[in-house]
């Protein structure tokens, strides 16, 4: 397969060492956020202040890679200016694109900074080519990140019917995947990614260890209990075990990670422009491990037309860092359709 058809590899960076780990291990671009609620990973101590961001941009761009700045939460009432300032700062610092979800902010960015490249965030929740083409027509959006709810055939249908570049998720923790439309966190805590930039914020999470067991509570609500030898997941409502019809189980979703290595040739064939790795909240170690293995897979795809095979070493390394220590193709594969 020719090099230009290989999707770009977009990697997460929650800190400067993570950014450097992504670049050093073969990311084509990194995505990052400010240390505030203008991005959907607004976690204590995570993300970039201005000094770190300037250094990160210099590090990536001097090596011919790109920096994408996520400003992908929704401007809160009376605070529009905070989000507008975030976009102005991105333009001034010279990032390669901003990733936005809020249509008001997309409109502001398109008018105020006509040369700034705009990506539609997964939080914008565009699942059809009509939605993607609307964002292109109204705001000049150049790329859209699709939520993890579409099958591969549906992704192909979007690509066939738009000239906007399409980015999909390739690896990382899964949630209920209804990105931008999920209110489970708000139901439990009153706060959600769209409003404060975090799902199930840490201040509401309590882990209690008792002999042989660990209990997880979110804002006092019991969401799970683990035996000592059971794998744990993130403390979100969607990954809790609940009693339904007299049975206690993962009623909404099992803790698991998406991994598209098996269908990488199909993803490239249908014309996906970029593959995104989830995990700005993870450490530089995770970023290095995942980037290295995804890069190896994409390079193998570029090198060996029709000969691509998933290597056991890539899979075992990726499985190890996965939430719930298991991986899935998620919505991409729905054999029953």
């Amino acid at each position: 397969m020719s090099r230009e058809k290989i999707p770009q590899l977009i990697c997460p960076a929650g800190s400067l060492p993570a950014l450097k780990a992504a670049i050093d291990n073969g990311a084509d671009a990194v995505y990052l956020g400010y240390k505030n609620d203008t991005n959907a990973r607004n976690f204590a101590g995570l993300n970039f202040d201005e000094k770190a961001m300037r250094e990160g941009i210099r590090y990536a761009q001097s090596r011919g890679r790109h920096v994408l700045l996520a400003i992908n939460t929704f401007a809160q009432p009376g605070r529009d200016a905070d989000w507008q300032r975030a976009v102005d700062g991105a333009a001034e610092m010279g990032v390669d694109a901003v990733i936005l979800a809020d249509v008001g902010l997309l409109d502001y960015a398109a008018r105020r900074h006509p040369d700034l490249r705009l990506h539609l965030s997964v939080q914008g929740s565009a699942t059809s080519y009509e939605a993607v083409n609307f964002a292109q027509r109204e705001f000049g959006v150049r790329r859209a990140v699709l939520p993890r709810v579409l099958t591969l055939a549906q992704v192909e249908n979007v690509i066939t019917n738009t000239s906007v570049e399409i980015e999909v998720f390739g690896f990382g923790s899964l949630c209920v995947m209804n990105e931008g439309r999920c209110w489970l966190s708000s139901y439990a805590t009153g706060e959600s990614p769209n409003t404060v930039g975090a799902c199930s914020p840490a201040k509401y999470v309590k882990w209690e260890k008792t002999p042989g067991q660990m209990t997880t509570r979110l804002n006092g609500i019991l969401i799970d209990r683990f035996d000592d030898n059971e794998a744990a997941g993130y403390p979100t409502l969607c990954k809790g075990r609940f009693e339904v019809g007299g049975e206690t189980y993962y009623a909404l979703e099992e803790p698991t990670s998406l991994n598209v290595l098996e269908i990488l040739p199909d993803i490239a064939r249908i014309g996906v422009a970029a593959i995104k790795i989830e995990g700005r909240q993870r450490s530089p170690t995770y970023v290095a491990q995942v980037t290295k293995n995804m890069r190896a897979a994409l390079d193998a795809l570029a090198r060996e037309e029709g000969q691509y095979r998933v290597e056991a070493a890539w899979q075992s390394e990726l499985s190890k860092v996965s939430e719930g220590s298991q991986v899935t193709l998620g919505a991409y594969s729905r054999p029953w359709r």
């Binding site: 929650g14 993570a18 101590g45 840490a202 882990w207 794998a231 450490s283």
Partner: protein, 150 residues
């Protein structure tokens, strides 16, 4: 290229923890605190991060050595707590190999948490803050010694 030393996952025999738990805890507490304060003095930890830790009580337990360290952060420096409160604000517990893998940036803390090799109790937000603060540290490059090159 320097050869990367890989730390395997291991668990020390239970007898070590039984003996270790009975030994005085101050030597390794002081070692840990000296290491943390060296990081502060090298300005690897940002001042604004330290202010979040100010006055909070921490507990680190190495399960398979029986080693326990109670400490706090006061006036921007880490100090031992010899008569700690019943419940620390934040407690990290893991086996020695997991702590070593974390420090060497060989394993990701979330991975160890998912696999139940690292336990975090207490103020979860403070725990997240400490994790992210340590992740953001740019450790100085170690000099490449001829003995470790190939």
């Amino acid at each position: 290229m320097g050869k990367k030393i890989s730390i395997p996952k291991f668990q020390l025999p239970a007898i070590i923890a039984r003996i270790g738990g009975k030994l005085p805890q101050w030597p390794h507490t002081m070692t840990l605190i000296a290491g943390l304060n060296a990081t502060v003095k090298m300005k690897l930890l940002p001042v604004e991060s330290l202010s979040v830790l100010e006055g909070r009580s921490f507990f680190v337990e190495v399960l398979d050595t029986g080693g326990k360290a109670h400490f706090t952060c006061r006036d921007g420096l880490f100090r031992p707590l010899f008569s700690p409160a019943q419940t620390p604000d934040l407690a990290f517990r893991a086996n020695l190999s997991a702590f070593m893998q974390l420090l060497a940036r060989q394993e990701d803390p979330d991975t160890l948490f998912f696999n139940r090799e690292l336990s975090i109790e207490g103020d979860t937000e403070l725990g997240l803050y400490v994790k992210n603060m340590l992740d953001a540290v740019e450790w100085p490059q170690l000099p490449k010694l001829p003995g470790f090159s190939h």
